[in-house]
């Protein structure tokens, strides 16, 4: 059994016992303020997962940059709403510009210009859910881990806030919680002094839903730039999209085999 598989085995057990997965577990000092009024969206139609996560699936995203609209931030906003990122409050006395770089962000809207042709590309950038994630390798306690289904996330019970994963991540995908957190969702617990990043809406996986907040928001506007799906399932929309046109990984040279692929980049 490889090191990754051993890790995943442990995680599977952990998640199996937790039944609701990480989404239901408490972070911080063990106190979670579940906002019942706001968590209404938690109650999905599908039944919650009863089985441990396994490796029959590998979840990922396909992003068609040609469909990603300039000035649109629907995916960013939807992610913020889904994961309680918009509940963060700028600490009293903190400068707005600095806070911008201290608050937690899971998806960024990036705009690029080709240095030769001047061609402009827009794309959402989030955790790339690598098959060989550097953040998992460097985490001293194993808090940064990869689930059997490919989702890379942080176990907030064992994160000591050393930020080594943030040093290691080539995508600047991770955020450190710099401030005291008053309000948060039970599906996305958040506590001062821990690290977090996009988890492909792991709570939705556990509820049996088949999309992410960002992909839904993009589709709702008719852009369809983000396709969520199972990389292992040849019939999944993700695989169909990947077959349809050439795509690449960001920092492909690192050989991390990311779960997020980009077309038109």
């Amino acid at each position: 059994m490889s090191r990754d598989e051993q890790l995943n085995e442990g995680r599977r057990h952990f998640l199996g016992v937790a039944a609701g997965g990480i989404a239901g577990s408490a972070g911080g000092v063990g106190v979670v303020v579940a906002l019942s009024a706001l968590t209404g969206a938690d109650d999905a139609d599908a039944a919650p997962r009863a089985e441990p996560v396994d490796d029959r699936h590998r979840w990922g995203l396909f992003i068609d940059t040609s469909k990603c609209a300039e000035g649109c931030s629907a995916c960013v906003d939807a992610c913020a709403e889904e994961n309680g990122l918009d509940l963060q409050v700028r600490p009293h006395g903190q400068a707005a510009a600095k806070w911008q770089n201290q608050r937690s962000v899971w998806v960024r809207k990036v705009k690029l210009e080709d240095k030769v042709s001047g061609h402009v590309t827009n794309l959402p950038l989030m955790c790339q859910h690598c098959e060989h994630p550097p953040c998992v390798n460097v985490c001293p306690t194993g808090a940064s881990f990869k689930r059997a289904d490919g989702i890379v996330m942080v176990d907030r019970h064992t994160c000591i806030g050393c930020r080594y994963c943030m040093m290691a991540c080539p995508y600047k995908a991770r955020s450190f919680i710099h401030e005291q957190v008053e309000e948060k969702f039970s599906r996305a617990p958040r506590g001062k002094g821990c690290v977090e990043s996009c988890n492909l809406c792991a709570h939705r996986r556990d509820d049996g839903q088949d999309s992410t907040a960002c992909a839904d928001a993009c589709a709702a506007l008719g852009h369809n730039a983000i396709v969520f799906g199972d990389i292992k399932d040849p019939t999944s929309p993700l695989r169909k999209a990947l077959r349809g046109q050439p795509s690449r990984q960001i920092r492909e040279d690192l050989g991390l085999n990311t779960g997020v692929r980009y077309a038109g980049l």
Binding site: Q102, V138, T158, H178
Partner: protein
């Protein structure tokens, strides 16, 4: 029979001793309060952000850890390489190694997001992480150093001194390699993706550790009116010169390696030419203050013989070392991650989110106070140690040293 070295407790006047202790305790208390403040409020009160995630406390912590393993070198030269004149210096070397390490680790731990979860770090390990290994390397180093000190001080333990000394020497090499590897294996970052960082950190530890050792040795001897002979001082300062030269050599190799690859040219331009504070600290701090100036002093025909100038050179090496680590640790984070070669990053999230531009970082006062507090912890341990136990030889005069060499021959 070999000449015996007489060790004596530090015998400075009680007022001076207690005054020093009180001053150090005050600095430590302020550092502790700063840590408590950052811990209570969260890291938003520091200069750190999601772009520069390791700030000034890491500069101090890494410096102290490097200096700790470097300080032990003096003992290793005596035991492992069998140089009799270094043997009287060994006990202080061991004590300083332990003190500096404790100071450095305290800073490191108190800068964690969740220092209260230290027990998690001590019980839950991921062995693909060099950090996890370092937890063993650091605590092991402390235990070995204490054992090493025992073999020096206890007659029954004398017979184990050489094997323990050799083990300690190998362990400290592993420790500094491990510290350098924290940075050396970060493949995603332009500045860090090179194995040369590990040996460079080893050489840096030689220089910083010896400089700190010489400063403590010279000042503790001066305060207590104990003599250090010019011959011994010459040996030590020549060795320091060699180590400073080696640091400069590795610095050159590190940058030449980066310059050779076209992909790293932008980063090199940043550090060497256009990086503002980082360029200034590189040339002014790392190269000039920490390298060329002390080299000039150490090998100057007249100044190189003056104890005060030699002490000054040691202080410059330490200041330059802090500057070097500031460039290595913070400069490399401030430089943007290169994710999109051939593209200009026009926007990276909300306005203010740092993507394609250099991330701002201004260290906050609490960070500085925490770092200085760590230095004070190291100094307190050494001060109390030499006062209550027999760490310092009574004399390091040339006559005494000549006697040692003669009896060893």
């Amino acid at each position: 029979m070999a000449k015996r070295i007489v060790y004596r407790e530090w015998l400075i006047q009680p007022e001076r001793y207690w005054g020093l202790l009180a001053a150090l305790a005050a600095v430590i208390a302020i550092g502790g309060a700063a840590a408590l403040y950052m811990e209570h409020e969260g890291h938003w009160v520091t200069g750190m952000t999601n772009s520069v995630v390791w700030g000034l406390p890491h500069v101090f912590a890494v410096f102290l850890i490097l200096a700790a393993s470097g300080a032990l070198n003096v003992a290793s030269i005596g035991t492992v390489f069998d140089k009799p004149v270094y043997k009287p210096l060994a006990r202080l070397s061991g004590l300083m190694a332990a003190g500096l390490l404790v100071g450095g680790l305290l800073v490191l731990v108190l800068d964690l997001g969740r220092p209260d979860r230290l027990v998690v770090a001590m019980t839950t390990y991921n062995f693909t992480s060099i950090f996890a290994w370092n937890i063993f390397l650091y605590t092991g180093f402390l235990a070995i150093t204490i054992g090493y000190l025992w073999t020096m001080a206890e007659r029954k333990g004398n017979q184990f001194q050489r094997p323990v000394g050799i083990f300690a020497f190998l362990w400290r090499l592993a420790l500094t390699t491990g510290t350098g590897s924290i940075f050396g294996f970060l493949v995603g970052r332009t500045a860090y993706d090179t194995a040369v960082l590990a040996p460079m950190f080893v050489v840096m530890s030689f220089a910083y550790g010896l400089a700190a050792y010489m400063l403590v040795l010279m000042s503790s001897f001066a305060w207590d009116g104990r003599p250090i002979g010019p011959k011994l001082l010459k040996r030590l300062k020549d060795l320091l010169g060699l180590f400073i030269g080696a640091v400069l050599y590795f610095t050159l190799i590190y940058h030449l390696t980066n310059l050779y690859g076209a992909k790293d040219a932008d980063f090199e331009h940043f550090i060497l030419l256009s990086g503002g504070i980082y360029t200034l600290l590189f040339w002014g701090g790392w190269v000039l203050i920490g390298g060329l100036l002390p080299l000039g002093i150490v090998y100057h025909p007249r100044l190189g013989k003056e104890p005060n100038w030699i002490a000054g050179a040691c202080a410059l090496v330490i200041a330059g070392g802090l500057a070097a680590l500031y460039v290595v640790i913070i400069g490399s984070q401030a430089y943007p991650l290169e994710m999109f070669p051939g593209k200009t990053v026009l926007a990276f999230g909300e306005p203010g989110d740092i993507g394609g531009t250099v991330a701002p970082y201004v260290p906050s006062l609490p960070e500085l106070l925490l770092g200085i507090g760590g230095v004070a912890v190291a100094m307190l341990i050494v001060s109390v140690g030499i006062r209550v136990l027999q760490f310092l030889p009574e004399s390091l005069s040339d006559k005494e040293m000549d006697g040692l060499t003669a009896s060893a021959a």
